[in-house]
Symmetry: none
DNA sequence: TATGAATGAGATTTCATTCAT
DNA sequence: TATGAATGAAATCTCATTCAT
């Protein structure tokens, strides 16, 4: 995991807050600086420009998520279905609380650093995919394209997290989402 | 469906083109005006400001999509599974072709005319939901919360459309996505 | 007196209302047109541009005022002091009710038509001046420069009309203003 | 007196120059910035918008005027008539030299920071009024409403300053104006 | 390293004026 | 004569970025 200095962390936290709640062009760097309690010029000591700061935010959020998931499914006493359940619950919880544009490229496209970020994204998908593949290999699951399924999962969770149906709680969503995926790929015995 | 004048249509088309190919803040209204062959001031006769123009573009595209889906599943000779297949294929095709326009699925969060949007979004979800409910009633499907499933569908299609795995074609995604959903909710007989 | 068509009058009335209550650059021709219930283009049938409309307003207001005063002091049974009193009372009343920028060139300077308006302005001053001169000739008044005095009068009345001291009525101002002028130029006998 | 930073002063000077020589809507902020040798954006660090800059210019000029007058009449060796003479001469000179700036006498009506203005205006009137009252108390003057008279004075001076009669010099106006006022309120002994 | 005043390119927006109907 | 949609020049204003301190 990349290490961030204390000041860098403060900036990233502030920027994350902002980019999460407004579109790119409505986030003012002066506000970010203010919220991070640093001077505007200081931002430029740590990030080349606004776009790079944006990608740095996405990168960090993603890294933390991947790290967490990675930790959770390392426990060997879990079978693939349990691992997948863990992943889905974790993602749901995370997105439900902070429906960030975590996996959204948003409106900013061409950026040199975006490569680095793309890799992180792929890391998440590969992580989920590997669990599915493991399940397939062990005869639990059946899936003609585990990579696609792996991408579906954060995507559909995100959609209900941003606009949750009224009067629904996180647990209900978690349960339904797990069922939805498992019924689709699990082999009935 | 809302009616647009000839000039409005020309502006919306030009703007759609622009907003689809560049981030919001890199789209210049003077370019939009130029592409639509109207004066810059004319834009302001039809749209209060840049933001409203942006949302008008998205709203029109979204409305057309909902309209199309609605038309397609009206055909009574289709059973619920066929209807759902139609919806998924249609969504996938549309997003796959015009993937940059990611907001298209109604995931527009902070929008001035939010009510109008919310209604359209609900319209899409309700449309999909109704097909699922119909399937449940007719004994084809089993789903403890069809509304959630209805929201999943555009969500996960969107996620593979934005970042399609390499070397995959639209048909493969369509097929896999249909399978993914149907295996999850279809009752095996 | 210049004659105005019915439509011209409507436009001038609307414009007068606007120019009186806002600075030149805050008066929109579309508002004037709206208030006059004519099309925006129609304004240009009667007035070459915004500046000319502005001057036309001033010209008309001035003409009316001069006309009125002129009528009032034609009565031959009035002596110069009575005539001056009449003028001051009339001006005060008029300005008190409608503290228009009647004699204010405002911020708009170079305009061909402004010559015409200048003449009207001079007409008012000359009118007042003539009464003073008459008084001097008849031994009532003493004034080393009646033209200056003539210009003072509308000027100082305007200043108290725009910002009247609290709790003062028009009559009190009228009375005080008359005294102020007459004590200054009347010869004590 | 409000303090202005060096840069603020440079901007105000440049703006004063511009607003004095052209109508409001013909003054370009880019020109002001250029003349003050600052960036266009710098103007906005010191003044919220064009209007506020405009009023800041007027306010500063007006404040200086009031300040100057205030200083001049503090000299105790002057009797009320001499003080009034000083005031009138000073006002006349100032307006005669810089006549275009007609708003200067506090006749600014619709202004955002209206309270601040009102106070300054009242300050000027009270200053003049106090001299008259002093004269009345010392038996030099007679005036049934010194406040009204105090308001007349800047008002009538303004009117001859904007449109001075042809071929007249400042001294003539000064002399006549003083006579005009003193003859009106002075008690003949 | 840290700052935030200053910048100015370039964005959005306005509105007097035109002109086809 | 009357209109008001259309115009686009030109205005105001923003904000990412720089740089002297």
């Amino acid at each position: 995991m990349k290490k961030y200095s204390e000041k860098e962390t403060r900036i990233l936290n502030a920027a994350s807050e902002m980019f999460t709640s407004r579109p790119f062009h409505k986030v003012l760097l002066s506000d970010v600086a203010g919220a991070a309690s640093v001077g505007k010029g200081t931002l430029y000591l740590y990030f080349k420009n606004k776009e790079e700061l944006y990608f740095a935010v996405l990168f960090r959020e993603f890294s933390i998520l991947v790290e967490q998931l990675s930790e959770k499914i390392k426990q060997d006493n879990l079978n693939p279905a349990e691992k997948l359940t863990t992943i889905i619950k974790c993602l749901t919880k995370r997105l439900f609380v902070k429906a960030t544009n975590v996996e959204l490229l948003g409106n900013v496209v061409s950026c040199p650093k975006s490569e680095e970020w793309k890799e992180k994204r792929v890391e998440l998908w590969t992580l989920i995919e590997s669990v599915i593949v493991q399940g397939v290999e062990q005869g639990y699951f059946e899936d003609s394209n585990p990579r696609l399924t792996a991408q579906y999962i954060p995507g559909f969770i995100r959609s209900v997290s941003i606009f949750p149906p009224e009067n629904i709680d996180c647990e209900t969503i978690q349960k339904h989402a797990c069922e939805f995926v498992l019924k689709s790929i699990k082999i009935e015995k």
